[in-house]
């Protein structure tokens, strides 16, 4: 085989890879820049990482963002699961189409509109019933939950729809009450979709800047907003360092989940071979 032979498909491959990853490579390289100016190279250094960890404002924002993402994802998954059960398992009821349409509407709604409408709602509520008293982490949590429910419902309901309904019937038939049947049979079977819905919601919440900037209040700046506003004042290499860490964590999680799923896949295939030989 001639390795050095020019081929169009190989060229396209490298162009595509470059298009996707070159910006990140540049960002990672510049995070190790010793210069204060982002665009001027002045030699290798890790001092911006140190600066980053000493910057309390950014570190607090990271903590807040993780907190909001965790709570939003957890709430969204629970609500999404309930909505999925209603959509998939319940017999036809009045307004079912409307319900399933409404719950997934935030998927196609522009973030600006969601953010603005949430803001108006919170203001109106604060004026009329006095709750929530002020905008802050609570309102960001509620707003993020709203649009994460849409994604969770789509992910969980598609798995629930695929699941053989006779499994639940078998559990009932064998003497389990509907509640026990749900926790002993349905939940373990749809667990992978719940996990992926949670991860998706967590990422979306962590990533969101538009909706959060509408509904957030004093002392509740999330990481994306922090980054966005600091960029407006001029980029510091600290942000590059932060971005590099985030890229590292995301790659690690992605690689980890790929490795685990490959291991499970291999085990299943070996088991299937064993069954075929038996």
């Amino acid at each position: 085989m001639n390795r050095s032979r020019f081929s169009l498909s190989r060229l396209c491959f490298w162009l595509g890879i470059g298009f996707l990853y070159a910006p990140m490579v540049v960002l990672i390289v510049y995070s190790f820049n010793s210069s204060r100016l982002v665009t001027v190279w002045a030699g290798w250094s890790t001092k911006w990482y140190g600066e980053l960890f000493r910057d309390e404002q950014i570190m607090n924002a990271v903590g807040r963002s993780l907190q909001v993402a965790f709570y939003s994802a957890s709430t969204a998954v629970v609500l999404g699961m309930l909505a999925s059960i209603v959509i998939v398992r319940f017999r036809r009821f009045r307004g079912r189409t409307l319900f399933s349409g409404m719950i997934t509407a935030p998927l196609v709604m522009p973030d600006v509109i969601i953010g603005l409408s949430m803001l108006l709602l919170f203001v109106a509520m604060a004026q009329s019933i006095g709750w929530p008293p002020q905008r802050g982490l609570l309102t960001v949590w509620i707003a993020h939950t709203t649009f994460c429910v849409a994604y969770s419902t789509v992910v969980i309901s598609s798995r629930l729809r695929e699941m053989d309904q006779s499994l639940e019937e078998a559990a009932l038939d064998l003497g389990a009450t509907p509640v026990r049947a749900f926790f002993l049979v349905t939940l373990p079977i749809i667990a992978p979709s719940i996990l992926s819905a949670w991860l998706l919601s967590f990422t979306l919440s962590l990533d969101d800047v538009v909706i959060a900037s509408f509904v957030t209040g004093p002392g509740a700046t999330t990481l994306p907003i922090e980054v966005f506003s600091s960029v407006k004042l001029g980029v510091t290499p600290k942000i590059n360092a932060l971005a590099t860490i985030i890229i590292g964590v995301v790659s690690l999680v992605a690689f980890g989940s790929w490795y685990v799923s490959r291991r499970i896949d291999e085990r299943n295939r070996a088991a299937a071979r064993m069954a075929a030989e038996a």
Partner: protein, 380 residues
């Protein structure tokens, strides 16, 4: 098709079973929205018998099974198990267990855990559960596979586990939904006899649903033929095959040649029918005491009781000439399609008892004939 009616069981064994009713289905009707799925069904299932609901898809047999299991509520009617009205009971309170068509084995549990699931719901003691699971594994010869997950088992093995799981709670009544539906043909025949052995071993009463007549006839003591939500006929496999009471049943089970005819003579010990399809009249060795106003009758004749010869038969009745139109050689027997003078085609099975015997071939002039008591007279 050659149907082996009641092949497995010695007649004396069947008669040993009690006549006591275990499950009584009283006037069950089920509407799904506007469409009628089950139409006023009344059935008595006897203790210890294997009862088959046989019908084409959409005949309402599965709906009836789901009503017995408790997954659907009937629109009207009652279900009595051992004299107790269970119509309003949810499935988890009924002493009825079901083997699902897809087997519905819990994929996240091992074989052992699947078998123990129902017993754990009853809050039985640990050692009782362990003991029962071991006995069930032994019953279906799956001891070696106790720690496997369902996806690590073959189709036949999965079926054994599903059967063991539905028997583990020692239900009063076992329901089988298309028990062989997910198996290939060769395995199916094997498993039919094995499942019957296991069921008789345990002595459980069983209602099964199937669309496969061979399966129903192999496994069941009695069969109910369902069509459009209605029970057409109930009887032993022999009754159903040899004495169908309607054209639908005659045509549903096996193959049949049907001739329309008019009664020209109806006495106590014989009757004669005249059919436009046949050259000679049909003579039947018994009367039907028909109502005078309807003299139109159907004569149903099974292909294996329709004989074919090249010589002209003796006698004035029960034969017709024809020509061989098609021949289907099936190994065990050959199906001849004989065209009668007025164009009707009749089927006729000839058992291949000799190797490469001289047989009529395409376009040969032949005669079809039958005996006085070979056919069944049906009302139109």
């Amino acid at each position: 098709m050659a149907v082996t009616a009641g092949a497995r069981r010695h007649p004396s064994e069947a008669s040993k079973k009690s006549q006591e009713t275990l499950l009584r289905i009283k006037g069950i009707t089920k509407y799904f929205d506007e469409s009628l799925a089950v139409d006023d069904v009344n059935l008595d299932i006897r203790r210890g018998e294997i009862f088959a609901l046989l019908g084409a898809s959409g005949s309402g047999k599965s709906s009836l099974l789901r009503i017995i299991a408790g997954f659907e509520a009937p629109t009207s009617g009652h279900i009595l198990l051992d004299g107790e009205d269970i119509t309003a009971q949810p499935p988890y309170q009924r002493q009825i267990n079901m083997m699902f068509q897809s087997y519905a084995l819990f994929p996240h549990m091992t074989v052992e855990q699947n078998l123990a699931f129902g017993l754990k719901q009853d809050k039985l003691a640990r050692d009782v559960i362990l003991d029962r699971v071991q006995r069930m594994l032994k019953l279906v010869h799956m001891e070696k596979y106790a720690r496997r997950r369902p996806h690590q088992l073959s189709g036949g093995q999965r079926q054994r586990v599903a059967l063991a799981r539905s028997l583990a709670k020692q239900p009063k009544l076992l329901l089988l939904d298309e028990p062989m539906g997910a198996l290939d043909k060769k395995l199916r025949t094997e498993m039919q006899l094995e499942v019957v052995d296991i069921l008789e071993n345990v002595g459980v009463t069983c209602v099964m649903v199937t669309h496969d007549q061979e399966e129903a006839m192999t496994m069941a003591d009695r069969i109910a033929i369902m069509d459009e939500g209605f029970i057409q006929q109930v009887g032993s496999p022999v009754d159903i095959y040899e004495s169908p009471t309607s054209r639908m049943v005659a045509e549903f089970i096996g193959s049949v040649n049907i001739f329309e005819g008019t009664i020209i003579d109806d006495e106590e010990d014989h009757m004669t029918l005249r059919s436009p399809d046949l050259e000679r009249d049909i003579y039947i060795g018994h009367g039907v005491s028909s109502s005078v106003d309807n003299r139109q009758m159907l004569f149903a004749l099974r292909p294996e009781k329709t004989w074919m010869t090249t010589e002209k038969p003796d006698g004035d009745y029960n034969w017709s000439s024809g020509t061989v139109r098609d021949i289907a050689y099936l190994g065990g027997h050959t199906v001849y399609y004989v065209k009668l003078p007025n164009g009707k085609v009749v089927q006729c099975f000839l058992a291949n008892t000799e190797r490469r015997a001289e047989r009529p071939t395409w376009d040969d002039e032949v005669y079809v004939h039958w005996m006085n008591d070979s056919g069944v007279v049906l009302r139109t």
